[in-house]
Amino acid sequence: MYQLYNPVQHVKTPILFFTGKGGVGKTSAACATAVSLADQGYKVLLVSTDPASNLQDVFGVELRSEPTEIPKAENLFASNIDPEESARAYREKTVGPYRGKLPESVVNQMEEQLSGACTVEIAAFDEFSHLLADESTLTNFDYVLFDTAPTGHTLRLLSLPTAWNGFLEESTHGASCLGPLSGLGDKKDMYGKAVQALSDSEKTTLILVARPEESTLIEANRASSELREIGIQNHMLIINGLLQSHDTNDEVAAAFYGSQQDALAEMPKALKLIDTLSIPYVPYSLTDIASLRQLVSDNPFVLTEDNDEGIELNQLAELRDVIDDFSAKNTRVIFTMGKGGVGKTTVASSIAVGLSEKGHKVHLTTTDPASHLDYMFKNSAVDENLSISSIDPELEVEKYKKEVISAAGHLGEEELAYLKEDLESPCTEEIAVFRAFADVVARSENEIVVIDTAPTGHTLLLLDSSEAYHKEMSRSTGSTPESVKALLPRLRNPQETEVVIVTLAEATPVFESTRLQEDLKRAQIVPKWWIINRSLSAAGTEDKVLKMRASSEKQWIKNIDNELSGRCALIPWTKKAILNNDHKVTQS
């Protein structure tokens, strides 16, 4: 129903940014585009920031931040930027010289303040800007492709006048999210040029990548409207992984196809106005230049046999085993954690129901406004052991913002704008939501609490250090709420709290989950269970395309089972509706 994406035909500007939720295939789409354009004789630079990418394997050459010629594809150059690494390098440059000179606690405090999501975001933008502002980039290359895009938060922050004037140094608000760029003044010109290039429709196209799944379409819509608001107008939408045909006799394949079509039918209205193309669901892995070339060619469907036969998997646990484990251990607080779209809410709900069926008193809290939990349970005779509540992150953030702004007292217009933009940072939602579920946990003394989200290690460490800090600050009125103080030690106690990592058997979700786990470990929380959700290989499909795709899951399942998790459970792919009725029940 959507025309197949063909870069040669559809790409109209020299600069392309690919954006979308993790795991939608931004890097693959960018790569395929780059290869296809280079094949036409154009000189192409592909800039990847995806740490999960297998670009080096695909291209057979080691990539650095400087453009490297790809021997296997004429005219193609690639560079690889790791924003986390840039942020780390910046952090080390700032902190390193003071190790040994300042006490450890002081050095740790400096490091943590430079470990937030903002630091990474700004570090990434800094890297983009070098390329965008450098005139030689566009004289040397016909096309420059980025497999990610700056966030609206970053761009707005940089366009606030307060970001650039001496006011920062007077430190009413400190360097804030702009921390990593303390020599900011020097960079003003560079950022200005970068933002200009981004807003020029003749020069730049923002390519929104989504899968035919609700959550990725919503994210594409959010990014689209946010970036449009700050002046980036030229958008294009690519639906990646659209199943073109299927074995209608295969139950799984029919359901799979149906759920894709449903998601597209429910696509946010604003997205429907954008030029939309599709990349088909293909059974082969994108592991070499030939497969990328084929993906966006006139004939993407030729079946090649993937050979994953060699991978032997252990017998894996099921969701039932996870529930039994928590029941036996009498775990009191259970978080499901993972990037959006992997099914945290569904897994949390299933765990909650399972525990209540075993006779435990359970309280389930969701932060997913699309979860319709109330509805999901309305007809299914919630037993008396199970109670449900929801936290609306948007509402909590609003509440928190109001509290912050009123507590800040009277501010000038520009200070207020600055403070407000600080409040748009990703940290804010985390903090606001954390406070809300600290309240839920505090209220639930005799129940098991299951929550479909978890704080990051960064949040926990910040909360922890500020608690210590506030202890000393007897005069401070801005104190940590009691419920938050009480929750921190409980979270660290593995007898009491378990964090379950929910992921999919695909490269990016596994990588992102690994990162979440590492981050939590910094706060001394070690997740035990990993749950691999929506596994096609566990679903038992006979559809030719899906079956081949299922076999590519094996390497990730093996990796999770052997390397990443304490224990690992597998949930088969099922049609998304949990309750069998006419109304749509959304899976997060």
Binding site: T94, P97, Y98, L102, P103, E104, S105, V106, Q109, M110, Q113, L114, G116, C118, T119, L158, S159, P161, W164, N165, G166, F167, E170, S171, T172, H173, G174, S176, C177, G179, S182, K188, V195, V404, A407, A408, G409, L411, G412, L419, D422, S425, C427, T428, I431, R435, L462, L463, S465, S466, A468, Y469, K471, M473, R475, S476, T477, G478, P481, V484
Partner: protein, 118 residues
């Protein structure tokens, strides 16, 4: 004239936005420092996140940190003597040190330069 130096903890968002709660004390101190600076008072703030060398170069502060760790911040020095550890000076403190009225310390900083990227 008296010299006041305030050594702040590392603040990624000194608004407290990234922390568990906002600290109105920070806004108060910023306003007071701003007003005093405008009157020509000798007062300086150092943020650990931006200006760590100040924390090693100043022997007094360095010693306080080695004795008490990060919890000692913020540290305030009056003519190189430690006058406050672990909390900010009050407006009464400032008024006393610089011989001014507390009411004069509540003025808001004004933005001086404005450059828009758009």
């Amino acid at each position: 004239m008296k010299k006041v130096e305030i050594f702040d903890p590392a603040m990624c968002c000194s608004t407290g936005v990234c922390g568990p709660s906002v600290d109105p004390d920070l806004t108060r101190v910023a306003s007071a420092v701003y007003s005093l600076e405008k009157k020509g008072a000798n007062i300086t703030r150092y943020n650990l996140a931006n200006d760590p060398s100040a924390f090693t170069d100043n022997k007094t502060v360095n010693q306080v940190l080695h004795e008490k760790g990060a919890d000692a911040l913020p540290v305030t020095l009056l003519d190189n003597e430690v006058v406050r550890v672990g909390s900010y000076p009050t407006n009464e403190d400032f008024a006393e040190w610089f011989g001014t009225e507390t009411e004069e310390l509540t003025q808001k900083p004004q933005v001086r330069v404005s450059i828009n990227l758009d």
